[in-house]
């Protein structure tokens, strides 16, 4: 029993170190615009947001679809707080240079030195984005979380859409730049910082899930009536899960702004939430590892491996008449359907990375008994 636990810890640590080492190696050898680097960046961000959604939908049993809205808040907070003061005139050209005349990386660079200060400033901006998303979740949580299942989904979806429209509103232009892009802000070029940030945050979510509060969330998911009867305050705990999940979605939004280089409200549409939801389902509702693996599979195949299906040549087959725009998504949908059909509970079910070392005990025993 003890030994198994130790083996699992070593196994998990080894996998994590290998991932990090691989990432650093790629950063050292490949140029930062290489597709592999782009894919890693995007996939880690998706992984973080998928895990945050899993915390809410998978572990607390709240079917919320507001993820894109909270990401939008995080993305805008990041952009608005980090655009260098000198660039604001050109970025906010239709709004007289905007209303905000400071930049967190520059402020921190003032007393921490250029490199450290800039990094700290960028991280601080991510944090503010997360906190803003959390605050918003706190405010809408009380009325919205009273709703049950489908109604909650519709309300959160609607909220995200309203937020998107609100951020494009011209009157907010001095801050959001209206329907124009936010750009010229600093970002991490290499993939490793993304992996590190997302990794640390996902680890925090894991810690939360395995704490007494995480167990309370799971109790609410399994049986709300029993949870309440055993002294778990439903309103408080649901709101807590909602706020925490939104915080991480906000940070994820900020990171998304980083790798994409520009910020607009349009990409934060409900399709983004559906993508994340799909990842959660494919990975396994209630499995953090599953969400992470599924994010990578999803992004790698949609952004990279299947690209050829849209551009003429795939796996050495040259058939421009079939492999043209849109075909990729068609194939992709079929793959997803197959996965959903054959892995009813997603790739991982509700197991985590260390559980992979367990043999399937039930089956093995039954076989032995025969």
């Amino acid at each position: 029993m003890r030994d198994m636990k130790k083996t699992k810890m070593v196994f998990t640590a080894a996998v994590l170190v290998a991932i990090l080492a691989g990432c650093i190696a790629l950063d050292a050898t490949l140029p930062s615009y290489h597709i592999a680097i782009t894919v890693i960046k995007k996939a880690t961000v998706y992984a973080l947001v998928a895990v945050s959604m899993n915390l809410l939908n998978g572990f607390t049993g709240l079917f919320s679809l507001g993820q894109a809205g909270f990401m939008l808040l995080g993305a805008y907070a990041y952009g608005v707080l980090t655009i260098p003061v000198a660039k604001r005139e050109s970025v906010y050209q239709y709004f007289d240079g905007g209303a905000i005349h400071f930049s967190l990386p520059e402020i921190f660079a003032g007393f921490l030195g250029d490199t450290v200060g800039k990094t700290v400033g960028m991280l601080a901006a991510l944090l503010v984005g997360g906190l803003l998303a959390a605050l918003m979740a706190y405010l809408i949580g009380l009325p919205v979380l009273r709703l049950k299942s489908d109604y909650l989904a519709i309300a959160t979806l609607g909220f995200a859409e309203i937020l998107k429209a609100f951020f494009q509103w011209n009157k907010l232009g001095p801050i959001t730049n209206g329907s124009n892009l936010l750009k010229s802000y600093p970002y991490f070029e290499h993939a490793t910082p993304y992996v590190l940030i997302a990794g640390v945050l996902i680890a925090v979510i894991l810690l939360l899930i395995n704490s007494t509060y995480g167990r309370a969330f799971k109790a609410i998911r399994d049986d709300e009536v029993a949870a309440e009867a055993m002294g778990i305050n439903l309103a408080k705990h649901k709101r807590m899960a909602f706020v925490i999940s939104s915080f991480f979605a906000g940070v994820g939004g900020g990171m998304m702004a980083m790798y994409s280089g520009t910020i607009a409200a349009a990409p934060f549409k409900s399709a983004l939430t559906y993508e994340i939801l799909l990842i959660v389902v494919i990975g396994g509702i209630g499995s953090i590892t599953g969400s992470v693996i599924a994010s990578f599979l999803y992004i790698v195949s949609s952004e990279w491996l299947l690209r050829g299906l849209d551009s003429g040549t795939f796996l050495g087959i040259n058939a421009p008449s079939i492999f043209k725009n849109g075909f990729r998504m068609a194939v992709f949908s079929v793959i997803i359907m197959v996965i959903v059909l054959f892995f009813r509970k997603g790739i991982m079910g509700d197991r985590e990375l260390p559980d992979l070392l367990d043999k399937r005990p039930k089956k093995a025993k039954k076989e032995a008994a025969k």
Partner: protein, 280 residues
């Protein structure tokens, strides 16, 4: 200061036109085991739900340790079709959620077992300790509550030994046989550290031997945890064995109340319930 742990005052619970509990008043004293019996659909579970805050009664009040925890009066739409008594007696509305009442020291089990199905036996009990944790989410996430968590885990181990489930603690709760699931429900309720324990048909689905074991077990935990117990049960042997007093409900109304010997002789109870129970 009265000796009451629980007092229900003229509680009426009406669902539309159906009066599930009709003007129910009862008292339970410290250390007693009191049974609530009656035919199917008599309103027993509904009475539990009113006491534990699941339902807000249409009219009436509930006192726990001399503190009024529930009060309501027929209001709004109900006023027109209110069929209970004592309409003007209560004025306030006090309707705490069940978790608040549990924290005051009342815990319950469910007639239709409601264990957390994806959780192990151990975790089912441990989660019930959550309402007694003092750490906030931040300190719990970053393991600032190690001591408290270790203590709670120890208490759960202890509790599982007492109820005889320590050998299956790592199994999924729902993989247990029925009788053990019922025991686990009791263990879980005990983990919330109640002074008053409400058991809704703890012996349902058990064979005579299991029922006998359960009877002894209920007596044991009363001693061990200094409990007052209020239980609903159809197994008359169990009820007559361990109850100090019995309340009998029929069609939502209290039709008798007394010691087991008195109840067994009560003609109204025999007509309404006991006669039937023997057939079944």
């Amino acid at each position: 200061m009265s000796n009451n742990v629980l007092r229900v005052d003229h509680a009426t619970m009406q669902f539309g036109g159906v009066v599930a509990v009709d003007d129910l008043s009862l008292e339970i004293n410290k250390g007693e085991i009191v049974a609530l019996i009656g035919p199917n659909g008599a309103g027993k579970t509904t009475a539990f739900n009113v006491i534990t805050g699941v339902y807000q009664p249409t009219n009436g009040a509930v006192w726990f340790n001399d503190e009024k925890i529930v009060e309501n009066h027929p209001q709004g739409k109900m006023k027109k079709q209110y069929k209970g008594q004592c309409e003007g007696m209560y004025k306030e509305t006090i309707a705490p959620t069940p978790d608040k009442i549990t924290k005051l020291g009342m815990a319950r089990t469910f007639q239709n077992i409601r264990l957390w199905k994806s959780q192990t036996v151990f975790d089912n009990v441990l989660i019930a300790k959550h309402c007694r944790t003092t750490s906030n989410v931040f300190s719990a996430t970053f393991r600032g509550n190690r001591k408290e968590e270790a203590r709670q885990r120890e208490e759960v181990e202890e509790l599982l030994k007492i109820v005889g489930l320590d050998d299956v603690k790592n199994e999924l709760a729902t993989s247990l046989p029925y009788g053990k699931q019922r025991r686990l429900e009791i263990a879980r309720a005990l983990a919330a550290e109640p002074t008053l324990l409400l058991l809704d048909e703890p012996a349902a689905g058990m064979n005579p031997q299991e029922t006998e074991e359960l009877t002894a077990f209920i007596g044991e935990i009363r001693e061990k945890f200094n409990l007052t117990i209020f239980l609903i049960e159809h197994h008359m042997n169990l009820v007559m064995d361990i109850s100090d007093r019995i309340y009998v409900l029929d069609f939502g109304k209290l039709i008798a109340h007394g010691t087991p010997a008195e109840i067994q002789k009560n003609q109204r109870v025999i007509d309404a319930y006991l006669g039937v129970a023997e057939d079944a």
